[in-house]
Amino acid sequence: MAERCAVVGIGQTKYDRCLPVSMDGLVRQAALRALEDADLTFADIDAIVIGKAPDALEGVIMPELSLCDALCAVGKPIHRVHTAGSVGGSTAISASTLIESGMYNRVLTVAYEKQSDGNFMWALTGGRSGGAGAGGSFAPWIRNYMRKSGAPDHIGWKVAVKDRRNGAKNPYAHVSQADITIEAVKESPMIWDPIHFLEVCPSSDGAAAMVMTNAAGAKRAPRPPAWVIAHAKRTELGVFPGRDPVKPVAGMECAKALFKKAGITDPRRQIDCAELYVPFSWFEPMWLEGHLICEEGEGWKMVDSGATEIGGDFPVNMSGGVLCSNPIGASGMLRLLEPANQVRGTAGDYQVEGARVALGQAYGGPSNYFAMWIVSSEPNPTFS
C-alpha cells in the first residue's frame, strides 16, 4: 500500500426523528464539524466520497449531484457508494482507499439519511409488504440463533438496556434512555416475535463525516489521529439454499481477512472495544460469534456476563449503536467512526479507558454485505 490512512477529523449531527434542516444543511453540518476537528477547510480537500442507503428513501436520484454545492465539491472529484445497510462502512473504506492509493492527500467522506423525508418501510418493498419491514426478515433468523445456541430470552433485552443506557452518554444519540430496565424491554409490545419494541432501532435523520489524510497530513493534525490498520469487505449471495443467514460465511471471511491484515490472532483479547451494526438487539451476540470474536454459542454468554458493557473486557456499541440512532446511510459510517473516536480518546462520557485498538463493523442487505475496519492510536500496533 502506497500510503497509510489516518482519520484526523470527525463530525456528526444530532440524530433525531425529524431534523428541521435540508439534506444540504445536514451533510454540510457534519462535514464542517469534521473539518473543524481537523483544523482544515473545504479548500484543503482533494476528493469527496459520499454514501447513503437507497435513493428511494428520500426520492432523490444520485444525490451527489444536488449536494455537491453544499459540500464545496465544485471542481473536485465526488463519488457515491451504495452497499445497502453497510454503505456507511463501505463509504469510509472507499475514502480510506483514496488516501492509501497515494492519489489523494486529504479526503472528506460523508454519509447521511433523512428518513423523515420518506418512508423506509414503504421503500424497502415498494409498499407491498404491509409493514413486514426489515425486522420481518430478521426475526426468524434470530429465532434460529436462539434455538441453536440455547440463548435465554433475556439476552436480547439485556443488549437493549446496555445500548440505550450507553446512548444516554452520547450527546448525538437519537434515543436516550438512561433509566431503561430489563422489565421495560420485556413488557414493551412485541413487534416481530421475538423482537420487542424496545429492541428495535429508531428511524433517524442525521449525517456523519470524517476527514482522512496520509502520514504527512497526520503529522500536521491538531488532534491525535486514528490510524486505519486494516479494512475488509465481503459480499455473498443474498438468497440461496445452503446459505446460513444466522452465521453468514461472508461475515466470517471478512473478519478473518481483517484480523489477518491487522496481525490480530486473538480478537477478544487484542481488540479493546467494538462498534457492531446491531439494529435489533440479538445481532450483538450473533455478530460476536459470526465475526469469530468468540466461539459458536458463546456470544450470548458474553452478553450475559456483562463483558460487552463499558468496563467489561470487550465493550460493544459504547455510543449506543444503531439501537440508539439509525440514520441508515450514516449508521454504517458511525460504526467505523466511533472506534476512531475511541482510539483518539475523544469519545467523552462513553470513552473506554485506554482504548488502543478498536473494531468497526457494518452489515447490510439480508446479512450478505459486510464492511469492517480496525483503527488504532498507534500507526503500527503490535499484539502479544
Binding site: 428511494a56 432523490v60 471542481g75 492509493s101 465481503r234
Partner: protein, 351 residues
C-alpha cells in the same frame, strides 16, 4: 502510479427492451470475460458494480445484480450508484494500493421499465428543482439554446453530429440505432424540445458492459494486448444551472489538466454525449481536433444504456486500441443534467 491495464471487456447490444433480468445481462458478460482470459471467476480479487435502483423502480435493486457476477463463495465487492465508469475509477484507485492484482467492473441499466423523462427530474435538487419537473431533455434543450445564442454552434452543427453518429452506428453490431441520413434531411425534422429535434436525443436503451483490469505483470499474464489506463479523473460542476456556463465544460477541462491530457495525441475519443450539443461542448472544452476520431461506435446517440453508457465508452476505446485502429484514446463518462459531472479515462496500447 502503478501500471494498470484493461485485459478484457464485454458489452451487451443496446436493446430498446431487454425482456430478461438485469442480473442475466451481467452474468453473460462476466462469463464471456472469464472464458476469454481463462481464469476462474474466484481468481478475480475485487468486483465493483455501477447501477441505479430507480431505473428498476425498487430500493436495493442492486443487491440482485450480485447474482449476476456470482458471490458464492463470498467475494470482495462494492457498488457505486453511478455510471460504471465511476466503478472503474474506484477499482483503479483500489489497485494502486498494490496488495491485489485484478478487478472486475460491471455496469448495467434497464430504462425500459420506466419513463426516463418522468424519473430523472428526481435527480435535481429536491427542494427547488425537482418540483419544477426539469427533466434531462429540457436541461439539454437549455444547453443547446445557450450554445446557439453564444454563437459557438449552429443547428447545422447539431445535425452534423447526428448524421455522422447515426451513420457510424450502422457498422456497430451493438448499436440500437444506425441510419444514413444527410444533414439537410435532419434539419427538416420538427422540433421536439426546441432547439432539439428528436434525433438530437439518445434512444432509450437497456444494456450492460463490463471490464476486467489488472496490475502490470498480472495484466500481461492474462492477455496478449493489455490496454493501459494512463489515468482517470472526474470532476463536478455546480448543480444550479444558473451558476454554470452551459456552453462550456470546465469540469472536463480540470480533469484533462490534472491528467496532463495532450488532446493532440488522441487517435480516438468516445464521448458520452447524450444529446448532440453535448458533443460540441465537450469537443471544444477538451480541444479535440481533426486528428481525433470522435465516437466511431456511434456513441450514445446510437445506444444509451443509462448507468452503462459511460463505461461502454471506455470499452469502445479499448476495443479500437486492441484492434490496432488506435494507439491512444479517451473514454468519457458523464452524470447529471447538462454535463454536470464528467469523467475522463486515458487509454493506451503497448508502443
Amino acid at each position: 502510479m502503478e501500471d494498470i491495464a484493461i485485459v478484457a471487456f464485454a458489452q451487451t447490444p443496446c436493446y430498446r427492451k431487454y425482456d430478461d433480468s438485469e442480473p442475466s445481462m451481467i452474468m453473460g458478460l462476466v462469463n464471456q470475460i472469464v472464458e476469454e482470459v481463462e481464469i476462474d471467476r474466484h481468481q478475480i480479487d475485487f468486483t465493483i458494480a455501477g447501477s441505479c435502483d430507480y431505473l428498476t423502480g425498487r430500493a436495493f435493486a442492486f443487491i440482485a445484480n450480485v447474482d449476476g457476477y456470482g458471490a458464492w463463495p463470498p467475494v470482495y465487492e462494492s457498488h457505486v450508484e453511478m455510471d460504471g465508469a465511476w466503478a472503474l475509477f474506484e477499482a483503479f484507485v483500489r489497485l494502486q494500493m498494490g496488495d491485489i492484482g485484478s478487478a472486475l467492473i460491471v455496469s448495467s441499466g434497464k430504462s425500459s421499465p420506466g419513463t426516463p423523462r418522468e424519473i430523472f427530474p428526481l435527480q435535481t435538487d429536491p427542494y427547488l428543482g425537482a418540483p419544477l419537473g426539469l427533466d434531462p431533455v429540457s436541461a439539454a434543450g437549455l444547453q443547446a439554446r445557450a450554445l446557439l445564442d453564444s454563437g459557438k454552434a449552429t443547428e447545422r452543427d447539431f445535425a452534423e453530429v447526428v448524421s455522422r453518429s447515426r451513420r457510424d452506428g450502422l457498422s456497430n453490431p451493438n448499436a440500437q440505432v444506425g441510419k444514413d441520413v444527410p444533414v439537410e434531411d435532419l434539419l427538416k425534422e420538427p422540433y421536439y424540445a426546441s432547439p432539439l429535434r428528436k434525433h438530437d436525443l439518445p434512444p432509450i436503451s437497456d444494456g450492460a458492459s463490463a471490464v476486467l483490469i489488472a496490475r502490470g505483470q498480472r495484466a500481461r499474464e492474462l492477455c496478449e494486448k493489455p490496454v493501459w489506463i494512463r489515468g482517470i479523473d472526474h470532476r463536478i460542476e455546480s448543480h444550479h444551472l444558473g451558476l454554470r456556463d452551459l456552453t462550456d465544460s470546465p469540469s472536463s477541462r480540470i480533469a484533462a489538466r490534472s491528467l496532463g491530457l495532450d488532446a493532440g495525441s488522441l487517435d480516438v475519443a468516445e464521448l458520452c454525449a447524450r444529446y448532440s450539443p453535448e458533443e460540441i461542448v465537450l469537443r471544444q472544452a477538451l480541444e479535440l481536433g481533426d486528428g481525433t476520431r470522435i465516437n466511431p461506435s456511434g456513441g450514445p446517440l446510437c445506444g444509451h444504456p443509462v448507468m452503462a453508457s459511460g463505461l461502454t465508452r471506455v470499452v469502445e476505446v479499448a476495443r479500437r486500441i486492441r484492434g490496432g485502429e488506435a494507439g491512444r484514446g479517451l473514454g468519457h463518462a458523464t452524470s447529471g443534467p447538462a454535463l454536470q459531472q464528467n469523467l475522463l479515462c486515458i487509454l493506451e496500447g503497448d508502443a
